[in-house]
């Protein structure tokens, strides 16, 4: 596991549900075919209403037209991030678009679990609301040893909750690697 994650911020509000992360009409593409799965990157976060996409300004596309990867590597959310459906296409599309970490006040549990068990990216919890502090495009650094998030653009640092017991799965890579290391399934 990397100790530091750096990238530009893409800021969203509360209750970003899985239909906003990846609208249901796109759930038809293969996740195992590397070429076809790029479609998920292309449509990642495309269901977010335009005015709420990339706060505080809004109207910022997460992925530019014709691309499948985003210039934003860290997504900042409010409470209940990833609520709604159990579709693993949601964390998967964000990974395909290049997201390395999400920092939200809280998560819906299936999305949180999928992010970790599937090894898509690291879902971190902030101790305070950050969606009003950080602006889309700000340069951020996450320190996974100190559990802090530093906004390099604004020169401010915020504490994050530690990952707790799920860190074993994150360090292993995903639930399969974790189970192999623990002897639960043959390696």
């Amino acid at each position: 596991m990397k100790k530091k994650i750096q990238g530009r911020a893409f800021v969203l509000g509360n209750n970003i549900d899985t239909d906003q992360i990846i609208p249901a009409e796109h759930l038809v593409y293969s996740l195992s075919d590397p070429e076809e799965s790029k479609n998920y990157g292309k449509f990642a976060l495309s269901g977010v209403p335009t005015e709420a996409s990339g706060l505080p300004q809004g109207k910022i596309p997460f992925v530019d037209e014709g691309q499948y990867q985003s210039q934003f590597k860290i997504v900042i959310g409010g409470s209940n991030f990833g609520c709604g459906s159990s579709r693993e296409h949601a964390p998967a599309c964000m990974e395909i678009a290049g997201v390395q970490a999400v920092v939200a006040e809280s998560y819906a549990r299936i999305f949180y679990r999928n992010s970790i068990d599937g090894g898509f990216f690291i879902p971190l919890e902030s101790k305070q609301p950050l969606a009003n502090e950080i602006k889309t495009g700000d340069q951020l650094t996450i320190d996974l040893e100190a559990y802090t998030l530093t906004n390099e653009t604004q020169n401010k640092t915020y504490p994050l909750n530690s990952l707790g017991e799920v860190i074993d799965i994150i360090e292993a890579g995903d639930i399969f690697e974790y189970a192999r290391k623990s002897g639960l399934i043959p390696s």
């Binding site: 209750n15 038809v28 195992s32 459906s85 159990s86 549990r109 999928n114 995903d174």
Partner: protein, 435 residues
């Protein structure tokens, strides 16, 4: 140690005498359900992790129910059906309900119940967030992603953090114009979209036990809209009456101990509830139906695992009988069994289907249809700025297709009454005899 129903089920499946909230345990899985949207991804991961020739841990315990994107010309969606069909054949799965055959069922959560896959005391995981519906049978059931489902396919096990339990007790008697959907929308309005995150929602009280299995399923169905891990109702005679002829397995009935610990315990008075809606764009944006009487609608939609069962259509038909709808009204039976019931159940000598057709409503084929938008040619999907009243479960932006459309969630009574006026309407205006 005193335990709740959920704690007892998880303990028994983890080989322990007791568990407590917060414990991480590995449980043995009784049923894994998947469908056409998440099945292909699950199968892909299973083969990658366990090998191209790997066998599922127990073919009798895998249930595959295509239901999401069925009646569409979308080539990718149709390819996905081919993938699950091929997998079912390769693995010799006895419980694959194929599209285009007489074995096709429709919406997975209702089909699971109808086909006897929901049994008291068992553990069921499904690659769909509304898998919590099965908790109506006194079992543990919850939604998971493709990775966890692939892990189960290979091992028959999954890790679970034991949830705390919230208890919602309803005393008294619900008025005749109240449906399970009103109760849910009321409670979600109370606790919010994340009010039950990581928790169990346990429904109790005489008013709840008086409900049919279909209404109990509705009650458990939307636990996920409050963030809940699972919902549960103690199994009783109503449960076993429903199971007759559907399964030979007896299951195990668990009761919560009187001194079990709850993180939330609230008693509600059933008699006081009024018809409720969730306004756009969140299931916890509660209002009384009568408070929204000035909201002009373009469409009424009655369907889905939440509001497309036989009970739901009987309720809608009671209101629509002999009347004409003023707005586009879509009727989507959840399953083939429900569709058939539309042609056999009668009110005043007319079948439900006849009542709907005479009223000017359109009847679609059984599937998830527009509940979650879906491919562009999906029956009932929104494409513009439609304002919809719907018996479905979610109204976040874009859920029914178009980001610009607005969705009010309501009971079948309220959705049908609103179809007749073109405005959000308290159903009491149309069922005076029963009030």
């Amino acid at each position: 140690m005193a335990m709740t129903i959920t704690e007892k089920i998880l303990a028994s499946h983890a080989g322990k005498t007791s568990v407590a909230p917060g414990d991480n345990v590995w449980v043995d899985v009784d049923v894994l359900m998947t469908h056409d949207v998440c099945g292909p991804g699950t199968i892909g991961i299973f083969k990658k992790q366990f090998g191209q020739n790997a066998r599922v841990w127990d073919a009798e315990k895998v249930v595959i129910i295509p239901d999401h994107y069925i009646f569409t010309a979308d080539p990718h969606a149709n390819r996905n059906i081919d993938i699950i069909r091929e997998f079912a054949k390769e693995q010799k799965l006895p419980y694959y309900y194929d599209v285009g055959t007489e074995n096709y069922k429709g919406v997975c959560h209702i089909a699971l119940a109808q086909e006897g896959h929901n049994r008291p005391g068992e553990v069921l995981f499904g690659t769909d967030s509304h898998t919590c519906t099965s908790g109506a049978f006194g079992m543990f059931s919850t939604g998971i992603g493709n990775t966890d489902a692939a892990f189960i396919l290979g091992t028959g096990k999954l890790w679970v953090k034991v949830p705390e339990t919230m208890r919602f007790e309803w005393t008294g008697t619900f008025p005749p114009y109240i449906m399970a959907k009103d109760i849910l929308l009321h409670v979600i309005g109370d606790i919010g979209c994340d009010g039950a995150t990581y928790r169990t929602m346990e429904w109790a009280g005489d008013a709840v036990y008086n409900f049919s299995m279909e209404e109990r399923m509705t009650l458990c169905n939307m636990a996920i809209e409050a963030g809940g891990k699972n919902a549960v109702i103690e199994a009783d005679d109503v449960t076993y009456d429903y199971l007759k002829g559907r399964t030979d397995k007896k299951g195990t009935v668990h009761h919560s101990d009187p001194d079990a610990k709850y993180c939330f315990n609230k008693t509600y008075k059933a008699d006081e509830l009024e018809p409720v809606v969730a306004q756009p764009h969140s299931p916890d944006n509660r209002a009384l139906a009568r408070e929204c009487k000035d909201v002009k609608l373009d469409r009424s939609y009655i369907g889905s695992c939440t509001g497309g069962k036989i009970t739901d259509f009987i309720a809608a038909a009671e209101i629509l009988n002999g009347e004409k709808v003023k707005i586009d009204t879509y009727i989507v039976p959840a399953t083939v069994d429900v569709e058939q019931a539309l042609r056999t159940e009668t009110i005043d000598g007319k079948t439900l289907a006849q009542i709907f057709e005479d009223a000017g409503a359109r009847i679609g084929e059984p599937s998830c249809a527009a509940c979650l938008g879906g491919p562009k040619d999906t029956f009932g999907r929104t494409h513009g700025t439609e304002v919809v009243i719907s018996t479905t479960n979610r109204n976040f932006p874009g859920r029914m297709g178009s980001k610009q459309s607005s969705v009010y969630l309501a009971s079948p009574y309220t959705a049908a009454a609103s179809a007749l006026t073109g405005y959000v309407t308290d159903p009491r205006e149309f069922i005076p005899a029963r009030v």
